[in-house]
Symmetry: C2
Subunit: 303 residues, 2 copies
């Protein structure tokens, strides 16, 4: 559902509004707005009970939900290379969790905000049938050269990822420092893996008009993830995928290792796309260790 809806919304917006201040709008991890000399980078992430999380024994606590709602939005800033600024949290509070649960959710968000030096500057509280959190984050950059979108991948680039894929964490860490380091070191395109590598590699390929060729056998699997397919298809991953000129390979590894110990793995390359109606059109292709193409599903949800 969501992909076609997002495309319809984008179509409604096109031409309906003047937007000189908009450096990047719908179609990337975050919107970029010119604000005097600075750039304001904004992303919104909504999480709904029984859609994105479950509460209860063996499942998430409201604290986990608050943490992850903020983490998801911050991860979009990481993928743009922006530094985290402020967060605004709108809470939908159900009778089931009440004030106690809502406050626990906020404590989770505040804990991650503190760790990432994000300021929670406002929000809203409403009654809702289930627990929900809608987090807007605002990040900042001094210049467009500090930021990177999905649409800059070039033929010949290497494709890299941070960390290990497919792990599900109750309290994941958005790769803010890594994203900023990679953007400043000169990656051509970057995205976070919130929809899973299968979908997000395709987003880069389609936005850039190129074809990403990913070798599944090279994927760095998180502990306990049994197959490449699972690592590539799992959504809600907080690692970053990026495309970069091959001669910058070492510079990228150094840039990441200066700020973090998650590491970088090279998983593929960027190739020219075939005809738009053919199997090799712009997007992403995944192959197994025998070189055979594997079809993978991903999630779609952001715009």
């Amino acid at each position: 559902m969501e992909r076609s809806l997002i495309e319809s919304i984008a179509a409604e917006l096109t031409g309906s509004q003047p937007a000189q201040q908009l450096v990047r709008g719908i179609g990337d991890d975050a919107a970029v707005v010119r604000a005097g000399a600075a750039l304001c980078v904004t992303s919104v992430d909504a999480m709904v009970q029984d859609v994105h999380f479950r509460l209860g024994e063996g499942a998430d606590t409201p604290f986990d939900v608050g943490w992850r709602a903020l983490a998801g939005a911050l991860s979009d800033l990481a993928a743009m290379g922006a530094r985290a600024g402020e967060a605004y949290v709108a809470l939908g509070v159900s009778a089931e969790v009440g004030e106690t649960g809502a406050l626990e959710l906020m404590r989770g968000a505040i804990e991650l905000a503190t760790q990432t030096k994000t300021v929670i500057a406002g929000g809203d509280v409403v009654t809702a049938p289930v627990l929900m959190a809608c987090v807007t984050v605002v990040g900042w950059a001094d210049d467009t050269s500090e930021l990177v979108g999905r649409n800059g991948a070039r033929v010949g680039d290497l494709v890299g990822v941070t960390g290990r894929l497919g792990g599900r964490h109750r309290r994941p860490r958005p790769r803010l420092n890594e994203g900023r380091a990679l953007a400043r070191a000169g990656v051509h395109a970057m995205i976070d893996l919130s929809d899973g590598l299968a979908a997000d590699a395709r987003h880069i390929g389609e936005s850039s008009g190129v074809r990403l060729e990913i070798e599944l056998a090279k994927l760095p699997l998180a502990e306990g993830v049994p197959t490449w397919e699972q690592a590539a298809s799992a959504g809600e991953d907080y690692e970053l995928c990026f495309c970069v000129a091959p001669d910058l390979r070492e510079r990228m590894q150094d840039a990441v290792s200066e700020v973090s110990d998650v590491g970088v793995t090279w998983i593929g390359s960027v190739e020219p796309p075939g005809p738009a109606d053919g199997p090799d059109r712009a997007g992403a292709v995944f192959s197994d260790e025998r070189g055979e193409v594997v079809r993978l599903q991903g999630f779609e949800h952001s715009w």
Copy 2:
């Protein structure tokens, strides 16, 4: 519920985060963040089906909901005196309304965005049990002197409101031009009446450490509103309430009439507060045409 929850959240935030860039945080209509030379003014408003609106015959259409979700957030910018910039719309889409309803909601938001020169720059789309919209708006100002909060009312000020109170509009117009004109003309404090005059006048009084004395007989009633009580207690009003030095009375009327024909009505004055535990403490008092105090209820939802 919401008031105590908001206070608990504010208490959690206090001291937990460094916030040099925060000019105004929780406790006003919008947060104000320093962004280089500019000021970024942000507010979030969430609307949930069967809490804030109903769908169906004789009730709202998704178009109305989209319009009003954006209007509510823009109204907060109006109350600060900021100019509208960008909006981010997170949609919770139920099976009941589907893609068609979600797109109609977006069309309502886009229509108001076009009329107010607001750019819809991004958002999120998720599945939800009922239709929901969470709108974040970002406004801008060049200098803190252009903006006005709730906390600046002074003893001796007049209390004014724009337009007529208590009317319920499917597609209300946020008072952006009026708010900006009033802020620039020098009001000391301003708020929008989204919680209703009874609650919002008290917000100004409490934030400013003064007591607003409102004469109900002076309220400008919207067409079809039978009583002052109803006009003062209705939430979701989009007019502005403001406090201003008495010698600026005419300047304010002129400032508003230059940008709009909604007009200004003077409804009370700002008095010193009595002891914090007494009936005359900081806040607001409402009296009827015989001078007798009337108790009124209002809504609470924003932070």
